[in-house]
Symmetry: C2
């Protein structure tokens, strides 16, 4: 089945200890779409200015991404982000953010997008996320991302809670879920979020993998042990893309299906960070995903307990 | 088989967001010994002053820990450490360190300790670690811990390299291995350490688990997803205790044996941090370890790849 994503499409300038990239494709929806595309067709809802390079449009189109929902504002400037990572790639500094046309983004879903059942609400203002949900006729599995900015403001936080009550999966990193719940312990925090309605909470821990918590249990998805990371930008959205894409492809939203989708998310994210921008995702195919999935399995499988402890 | 540990035995004052503990048993060797004791007999080499509480001696003795190698300095004061953890338990502040009798520690192994084959060199001056190794007749599997203080000083670093060349397993956290090798990428850093002689490098990542790297491959051991952490002090040494204790118990130093021992290390460390000081380790038994090992297995097992990606 198809998966739909609503979120930012932008142009990034990125510096990491391993190089720089200027004017490259960025934005949560771009990463998500390319990460999901090895699994299924993708519908993208976003906004750009008419400065948005034609090559990015062509790239997305060439990867089964339907851009009928991508608004182009005549005379407008595309969302831009500039950032820098420390030697410890977990430490990121935003050097510049220009929302540009993104400021007035009003997501409007083309008619043929409204029957899509698998939906990912990337990090945008919670009010807009709610508005998108109202345009979907029969949502079957909705994933949600957010950020500290919306959690910290009482007004947007209240709206975010309304969105959380209506989705199936909440994606948060450890800092965000601690902020949202005021609870340090992650399992307790996850259960608090679950009590607001979702079926599963997916806690993203960057280079350390991700943890899923649901009524059915806890699943720890290791990050694939990588030889080299060049640019961690978009890792979380690539994880979400691999997760939602594989879930839409299999249609299996059971706990077993969610666990498997978590592993696909880990695998796809591991490719995404191996090169700048979406460069590694351009050439990613199912065979490479299958191979790395198998490797991830091999390096995490735990032998049965031996009657060792006396 | 028995496992021998050389390292600090001390008295701690600890503050965490979840409580405080004053004058409690601490030190790497104490944590290690109690963490290894559910698996096998332990021999401890260390030093204390005659202010060291009798109850701590009794506790260790009651847990199959042979204290023939614990020197007591008449009129001396035991090593003391005071520390405080932030709400983010990964952020620790040392408030006070008094080495006291530990300053003049010269490890001397009792005769019946010298035939022990499984040895853990906890974090002490590398020169002393080398000296301990020279007292062991037939080492079969030696584990080594160290710290930034010895890595950063050119002189002690050179000695540390000599120790590394003679051991089987090097335990380092991610910051330490990056410092030691000057390499950001952990797999590359681990291979650099392997090239100096050891069979396996065990990278400790605290609440995120641990990664083992050897010629045979990479193993990612998840941390057990805990409901609540009260005090992370001693987590690394408890991990090492579970690892070395279970390895000595099984005698299986193959890659499969090392992977299993990693999981036991994770499990034992997860108990250690659930209460202050060594309190949770006091009552830990094989049944509890087996049960949590099984749970860890259940929440990390990855289904086989489905021919999903197109």
């Amino acid at each position: 089945m198809t998966v739909l994503v609503v979120g930012s499409v932008g142009i990034d300038d990125v510096q990491t200890p391993f190089g720089t990239a200027q004017g490259v494709l960025g934005g949560a929806a771009s990463y998500f779409a390319l990460a999901a595309s090895p699994f299924t067709d993708v519908q993208l809802v976003g906004i750009v200015g008419d400065d948005f390079p034609r090559e990015h449009v062509d790239l997305l189109r060439a990867h089964r991404v339907d851009l009928a929902g991508l608004q182009t504002v005549p005379g407008g400037a595309t969302f831009r982000w500039a950032g820098k990572y420390e030697f410890d790639l977990n430490v990121a500094h935003t050097l510049d953010t220009r929302l540009n046309v993104f400021t007035d983004f009003q997501p409007r879903l083309p008619e043929h997008f409204r029957d899509t059942e698998f939906v990912y609400l990337a990090n945008i203002q919670p009010g807009l996320q709610l508005d998108v949900l109202s345009q979907i006729h029969h949502p079957r599995f909705v994933g949600l991302d957010s950020m500290n900015f919306w959690i910290g403001n009482p007004e947007t936080r209240a709206t975010l809670s309304q969105v959380i009550a209506r989705v199936n999966a909440v994606f948060m990193n450890d800092a965000e879920i601690r902020q949202y719940t005021g609870t340090y312990h992650l399992l307790e925090a996850a259960r608090q979020v679950l009590s607001e309605g979702p079926d599963v909470v997916l806690i993203k821990k960057g280079e350390h993998g991700a943890v899923a918590v649901s009524e059915a249990g806890v699943f720890v998805a290791a990050a694939f042990p990588l030889e080299a990371v060049k640019d961690p930008t978009g890792a979380g959205d690539s994880f979400a893309g691999g997760f939602m894409g594989s879930l839409a492809q299999s249609g299996d939203t059971s706990w077993a299906g969610i666990r498997r989708a978590m592993a696909y998310g880990s695998v796809v994210a591991s490719f995404a960070v191996e090169d700048f921008s979406v460069d590694r995702l351009r050439t990613l195919d199912g065979g490479q995903i299958a191979e790395r999935y198998q490797l991830l399995r091999e390096c995490t499988v735990l032998e049965p307990h031996q009657a060792a402890a006396a």
